[in-house]
Symmetry: C2
Subunit: 432 residues, 2 copies
């Protein structure tokens, strides 16, 4: 008997097949057991009538515990009402390993607090919403790669272990590197600039670390980030790229994640509106909007969550805010030739979640960059190689970084980023 | 004037287009300058006659320095002898930024030692062989993902920051994690086992760390590894998967990297033979082969490079060695029911490079695993979650890990893995 994945059952209508998986839920009604079996690809209801199997098997199914591993043989019956469109009329049933009782996580997960569920993350992954979120995550990651691969970008993996800080030292994790010290990367950008000078259009997509003490629904200490970098691109070019990119990823999710959105009770309607063009607004106009909304903020300051929410307002699309104050942005940003107090940068703020992209045009003038490194009190020796990129064939170039988990949270309609990564790391959590 | 990438020039035969890039090499002969311009997508020869441009431009081109950034406008002329199949008849030429002199890396790179080139890695990336190797790496990475995505595997990213060691503590990097201590992952496998119980077929593909003091041509402290894990799979299943996987990746490289192999002077012929089936040999038979080849080894010991080379011998295909001694393998391996001194594992050894894959079937019995954790003196508390996977619906399951850089080195015919990653990290190198 060939084994079939639940996701493929509809192709086997009328046939007798075998499914291997785990007993997610059982309901018994007199002469019938309704066994919901999940195998990772989906969940199928297996209906076992007392007369369909021998007495011992019927009795066994009646005491099968939640999450026991099972092998079920039966006839595939199409049924539009069934999740996945098919159910199985059981002919044979076997328990491979009976799960211990009680299973730590109740079927009604909301009975548990999030801390408890996170402690059980290795099992919680099996829950319908967790598994659906991880499937969306996998598909979003794939669409991100497809977008760049199809446009002639080369994947380049910047190092995780780095000798210097890219965006300030307060949020760095220290690593003992043999007799030396190293830091976990906060962004591969500086390396991606070197790669763009070699390969033209490049992107990285890997884990990134921030030792941030903030404990918010938007922060993880370890998260995945995609960072494209394009030689000869200006701020306008990269804003166009960001807009097309975000739209592509959202539209692809709509094509590939409909079943998952149902499980997650995510209304896909708002996502259908995520198409170019996005609204573009300067930092200065954004500040006016914040104040008009009655949200407090200091002049020339960066935005926090309340300000970002005020800027997005009731916009159905992400909002692109460009040209922030030089003082609140990183040393490598290119100054706006029209206004030296502004840099050619852009943040993309998504409805409900806030910043999902930060990027802009990079300083390409050697002297300016030398001054900035001194001004920011960064150790010049660690940046010699970076300065070389301006000595030998400097070109305008731009790029951005998009956080995967925030994007998945936004697409899934999930309030918390922590549920959008398989094993979240936060200031208080590094287990399991 | 629209800008065109060098790789697309052939589509514009007879047209006048503009190219942006860097001057890789210049040769002048009286009334002609031959300017080789690279833009990341390829290299094009731009031919400038004295009469084609004004005097100032011709003079400027004559003193343009290596790696200066340039904009060239000209007519696309198809020429089969030219690399890429086209050259540019220059009409306009502009230097965007003149590179300082001398450029640190000579055109004839072999004049430099590898240590010097590694110190200049941010510039060395621009060299034809470095860039070609990185292009192969990007395409191999893509084919790895395609293989698993197309077979219904879900991408799952295991954590990089982990509370415990998976394969022993001697080669772990320590991280200061707020008030606590963490380790950089050596393998995501244990987490992937949890994910396989949730999603069925999963794979991870991310950076992995080994604080190995060995300074060999096969070792990096930071490298990328792909790790599939399959619920219900046995050792035989995973050997079949490994064989198909490696063959797929090599055949795809042959389809997509022909130009790069020319640059790398890599004869593609040997790669054409990498198709299933691979030769399968037990550890015990492999030992006999080692001894027959006159290579020393201790009984029941693991293999090193000399032994691996003896086992591969003059085989044109990878060799799969299965069922190693229990004592030399990790605690989580499933014991061979036929021989308790052997575990159900497999290493795949590639010609010229040695081990590229390690994997096998995982222990699925709770008591056995508890004993192994005690026997290996591992902290039980750190593995409670892992034991849960055997308490709640244990199933047979198997997986493997493949090192990306070793695979790229093998495909490129490169002796050293260090040139197969953009910014290599070794015991002595963490810069740039």
């Amino acid at each position: 008997m060939a084994f079939v994945y639940v996701a493929d059952l509809k192709k086997h209508a009328g046939q007798t097949v075998a499914v291997r998986g785990w007993l997610f839920h059982r309901r018994s009604a007199g002469k019938l057991h309704f066994l919901q079996v999940r195998d990772g690809s989906g969940v199928v209801q297996c209906v076992m009538g007392r007369k369909d199997v021998d007495e011992k098997t019927f009795e066994l199914a009646g005491r099968a515990t939640q999450e026991s591993s099972v092998i079920v043989e039966g006839e595939v019956r199409l049924d539009e009402r069934a999740p996945g469109g098919a159910e199985l009329g059981v002919k044979k049933f076997e328990i491979h390993a009976m799960a211990e009782q009680p299973y730590p996580i109740a079927i009604q997960q909301h009975e548990h607090g999030v801390d408890f569920l996170m402690e059980q993350r290795h099992l919680w992954l099996r829950g319908p919403k967790s598994a659906a979120t991880l499937r969306v995550r996998a598909r979003v990651a794939q669409s991100i790669r497809d977008f760049f691969n199809n446009r002639g970008f080369f994947l380049v993996d910047p190092p995780i272990l780095t000798p210097a800080a890219c965006e300030g030292t307060t949020t760095l994790f220290n690593v003992e590197y043999f007799e030396d010290k190293a830091y976990l990367t906060q962004s591969g950008q500086l390396y991606m600039e070197a790669a763009a000078m070699a390969l033209g259009k490049v992107y990285s997509f890997g884990p990134t670390f921030r030792a941030e003490k903030s404990k918010t629904r938007r922060h993880l200490t370890e998260f995945w980030m995609v960072e494209p970098e394009v030689a000869w691109a200006t701020l306008d070019d990269i804003m166009n790229l960001a807009e097309e990119f975000v739209s592509f990823v959202v539209q692809r999710a709509l094509e590939t994640c409909r079943e998952e959105f149902k499980v997650l009770e995510r209304d896909p309607k708002p996502l259908e509106k995520i198409v170019p063009p996005f609204h573009r607004i300067s930092y200065d106009d954004a500040c006016a909007k914040v104040k008009a909304a009655g949200v407090e903020m200091k002049d020339e300051d960066d935005f926090g969550t309340p300000q970002e929410m005020a800027i997005v307002g009731d916009s159905e699309k992400p909002v692109m805010v460009h040209r922030y104050p030089t003082a609140v942005k990183a040393f490598y940003m290119k100054r706006d030739p029209q206004n030296e107090k502004r840099v050619l940068c852009v943040d993309v703020l998504a409805p409900g979640i806030g910043e999902i992209i930060g990027g802009g045009q990079r300083a390409d003038d050697l002297r300016y960059l030398e001054d900035q490194i001194a001004l920011h009190k960064l150790p010049r020796s660690a940046f010699e190689w970076y300065l070389d990129l301006r000595k030998y064939g400097s070109v305008p170039h731009s790029g951005f970084g998009l956080g995967l988990e925030r994007t998945v949270a936004w697409i899934c309609g999930n309030e918390h980023v922590r549920e959008c990564i398989p094993f979240p790391r936060t200031i208080y959590r590094i287990y399991p």
